[in-house]
Amino acid sequence: MEVDVLVLSVALPLCGALIAVAWPRRCEVVGMLTAFAVSVAAVLTLVQVLVVGALQHEMGGWTPGLGIALRVDILSAVFLVLVGLVVLASSVYATGYFGQPREKAHFWPMWLLLLAALNALVLSSDLFNVYVTLELLGLTAVSLAALSGQRAAIDAALRYLLVGLLGSMVYLAGVALLYLGYGTLDLPAIATQIESEPIAWLALCLMTGGLLLKTALFPLHFWLPPAHANAPAPVSAVLSALVVKAGFYLVMRLWIDLFPALLTPSTGLLLGIPGAAAVLWGSWQAFKAERLKLLAAYSTVAQLGYLFLGLALLFQLAPGPTRDVLFGGIVLMALTHGFAKAGLFLAAGMVQKRSGNDQISNLGGMAQRMPVTTFTIALAGVALIGLPPSGAFLGKWQLLSSALGLGQWLWVIVVATGSMLAAAYVFRVLERAFAGSSQPDAPVAIAREEWPALLLSAIAAVLLGVGSGWLWPLLGNDI
């Protein structure tokens, strides 16, 4: 009885959430168990995809046109694993982070719903279903962001909600047009029928516009920094690493699977130029940021810029080995950023918890007091700058290689300046950490909180760099 594991990755978190709501006293245990089960399911799905290839599960047994189908190929399987691992690590961290039972009772159900939304979004291949998962994701993210209850967090959450709703509505309009034009909501079905006609163009613009709003690409990024900076640490880790990335995943799905017919090299620029602007603006703001979490948030804006830059280059390459390699590079950068940013936010959370605030100016002597946290920030920094041995280094190498291959110098300069600025803002933090405060007080270590962050950063800085050789050829046959 061959069980489709991919359904479990949606069903399990939902059940977990329900039990957590029904049984608040044990919500933490339920949460941890579910998170662990989901990450196991994600890994199993990945293994199944590696063995069998793309999997599909029709919900309710109906053919995809009428019913909804969950589809997983190597790209979504990899994202599933990213979601599973980051959420698991953040959950372990969260057990130590939230003190009173009241806070726990509110946190864990929403946390599991968020996980369910992420998994559902990555797996679904029905346009309206994506809309519903986007809404679920949006609402849970907003409620989690507002969990800390301070004025700044509430304001940011509210703005995040409004922007999210706008984005979903515009996306829904795009879906309506597509349904109007092609009569079905199933992604592969539409992909076969689409040709370059006005309704398809308009649908593309609307859907992409909506998603870019939710992914906070440069001009539309104003809501992200306050939202991510004021959310509690595990939440901001997941927000930056996964929620924003889900938007990017969808744009990638749409542009590569759904609208290849429409894409001319120049359309790539539509994503490329804001991407480049995001890299420069995000890095510059991060360099000027006063608080560690604000720095991490702006760095998210910058790193997303790199991903969209990569997409712009991807569409200018004719299908062939170089295009596959670049696609692998972009995916690897996305994964590395996911792990690194989660690690960085968790570490920032520890700093805030330990010294009251996360002002970068008074991080003095942190290396001595919290050695593991400093090491985590250093590893995450390495991955963000894109220094070897991190995965981002390989990604950046492919990005530069294809940009130089195409002879487009603008991107090379942008990536170079971006990396230098990234180095600037990472080492600005590390420098203070190394500046010894006069009295080297005893290093304190809360294993439960420090180890997940360290593992996440280590995965980003070392494992993805060295161990991702097997991933590239498989990604190739996806596009």
Partner: protein, 94 residues
Amino acid sequence: MIDTGVLYGLTGVALAAMGFRATLLEPEVIRKLLAINIMGVGIFLLMIATAYTGPDTAADPVLHALVLTGIVVAVSATALGLALERRRRDKDGS
């Protein structure tokens, strides 16, 4: 050549545009939520208009289901928005 479906479709688009514009421009939070609801109604109108295939034949049930789901989602979002707005007012100390 404009039949009922197209008429309502265009109104839906118009409502969506008014809603979108108002969401961006209105400073007041509750008005923003109103505008978003209006924009939602506009898009739902567009969808139902496409589902309408003349007075006698049955309309497309799938779109109706979608709009139903859309309405429920809209109301839950509005409820959350209002709750956030209230909590913000309380924090204001006013």
